[in-house]
């Protein structure tokens, strides 16, 4: 069984919550956890935490869990969730904001490093793939 999540009111007012709301321009508490975002997400099968759960954990200020999960990097900003959310929450923007909280530290925690891509792979990829992946996955 995974470790229990400990909630506390102090977390709700952590700077992380305000930072995610500021960068994303979203009010996290608008989400009422209907799950529609996760139901239509084409990446959900590859995620360790589902989109609605990401929003829930963000509401609760669970920064450590969110910053360490894979799902924030798996989300590909396809915008399916945004166009379907009944509360007009821009989920993709929230996930981008969480990625930014990782990429904006001074530790260069890039998810993708150009030097790590094998030469043959690089040669076979069109510019559009390389530029977009580096835009989304590196600082």
């Amino acid at each position: 069984m995974s470790a229990p999540i400990r909630l506390s009111s102090a977390r709700l007012s952590r700077p992380f919550v305000a930072q995610v709301e500021r960068i994303s321009g979203q009010k996290l508490l608008a989400c009422y956890q209907c799950g529609k975002c996760s139901a239509g997400c084409p990446m959900a099968a590859h995620m360790d935490i589902l989109p609605n759960q990401i929003i829930r954990l963000a509401q609760l200020g669970m920064s450590e869990k969110l910053q360490a999960c894979d799902a924030i990097w798996t989300c590909v900003s396809c915008m399916t969730c945004n166009s379907r959310c009944p509360k007009n929450v821009k989920i993709a923007e929230v996930i981008e904001a969480i990625r930014e909280t990782v990429l904006r530290t001074n530790q260069r925690q890039d998810r993708l490093k150009l030097g790590d891509i094998p030469r043959e792979t690089l040669a076979a990829l069109p510019p559009i793939a390389l530029i977009s992946s580096l835009r989304k996955l590196s600082s």
């Binding site: 915008m79 399916t80 981008e96 069109p126």
Partner: protein
């Protein structure tokens, strides 16, 4: 009719057949395409962070290029460029402050951007300005018997502010295909993401998506898939061998740009099609339908 045109980086490289068939098929429709001088990469994706303004500089400098050529609008056929350029335009138009920040960033430009250039996608231009009836009238080699699955992916239909058709069930590409004499098939996966840039870091995800999307096209009896994005084209074409490994019942289907279908139907020279650039060869099915 004259039309300013923004091609985009991949169109001059892996997707040069998309570029060439855009220009050659428009010529058949009496549209003279003028490629913008000194265009630059649009950045490929729109930054979603509310404080990310620097990534608007690349798309906005392209809007300035159009303005400097006295163009009040320009067209692109790449879905990703369209999305990025259009969203940047919407963003600077929505706020005087953002617009002036951008003009400050771009202070070496001789022209200040005023928000007065429109970004159009080729499908939108064909529907609204040329008209599909006029396209149909120019067809010399109808795509009779060719069953096509029209794939939109994400960038033409989401977010809803950039869509020029219904976000859940767009029809514009099907309507064009019909005008060309082809038969569009029902295609439930037409707006599902192909995995996009994950081809770089998670090609396994793109293989899964390809298996699902091309598999759905095949289930609906399509002969090939039509696309409007060089990244979708790359993914859906090049990941089919991996899709076959995931599912032995998977059937390979060629992936063509919608402009290639237009170029064939409008009788453009074969050279522009560059069919050798494709991974899954389109020649057999085209020859089978008498279109080779």
């Amino acid at each position: 009719m004259k039309l300013s045109y923004y091609p985009g980086c991949t169109m001059k490289n892996a997707a040069r057949n998309f570029d060439e068939t855009t220009v050659s098929s428009l010529a058949r429709l009496d549209v003279e395409v003028k490629e913008l001088d000194r265009w630059n990469c649009c950045g490929t994706v729109h930054g979603l962070a509310s404080d990310d303004l620097i990534h608007l500089a690349a798309p906005v400098s392209n809007l300035i290029r159009a303005r400097e050529e006295d163009a009040s609008e320009f067209m692109t056929s790449c879905a990703m460029c369209y999305n990025t350029l259009k969203r940047a335009n919407q963003r600077v138009r929505a706020s005087k402050e953002t617009l002036s920040t951008l003009n400050d960033f771009l202070s070496l430009e001789e022209t200040n951007y005023q928000g007065d250039v429109e970004v159009r996608h080729l499908l939108e231009f064909l529907r609204d300005r040329v008209g599909f009836d006029r396209v149909a009238a120019r067809v010399v080699k109808p795509l009779t018997g060719l069953k096509v699955a029209c794939y939109y992916g994400c960038m033409l239909v989401r977010p809803t502010e950039v869509a020029f058709d219904d976000s859940e069930n767009p029809r514009v590409m099907e309507n064009l295909a019909t005008a060309l004499g082809a038969t569009p098939v029902p295609f439930p996966a037409k707006t599902e993401c192909c995995g996009a840039y994950h081809v770089v870091d998670r090609p396994d995800i793109v293989a899964r998506r390809t298996e699902r999307i091309v598999g759905s096209a095949h289930d609906h009896q399509a002969d090939l898939v039509l696309v409007s994005c060089p990244l979708c084209a790359h993914n859906l074409d090049h990941r089919q061998a991996d899709a076959k490994r995931l599912n032995p019942d998977f059937h390979h289907l060629p992936v063509l740009y919608f402009t290639q279908a237009m170029a064939i139907a409008l009788g453009c020279a074969d050279a522009a099609l560059d069919l050798d650039l494709h991974h899954i060869a389109p020649q057999p099915v085209l020859a089978d339908r008498g279109l080779g």
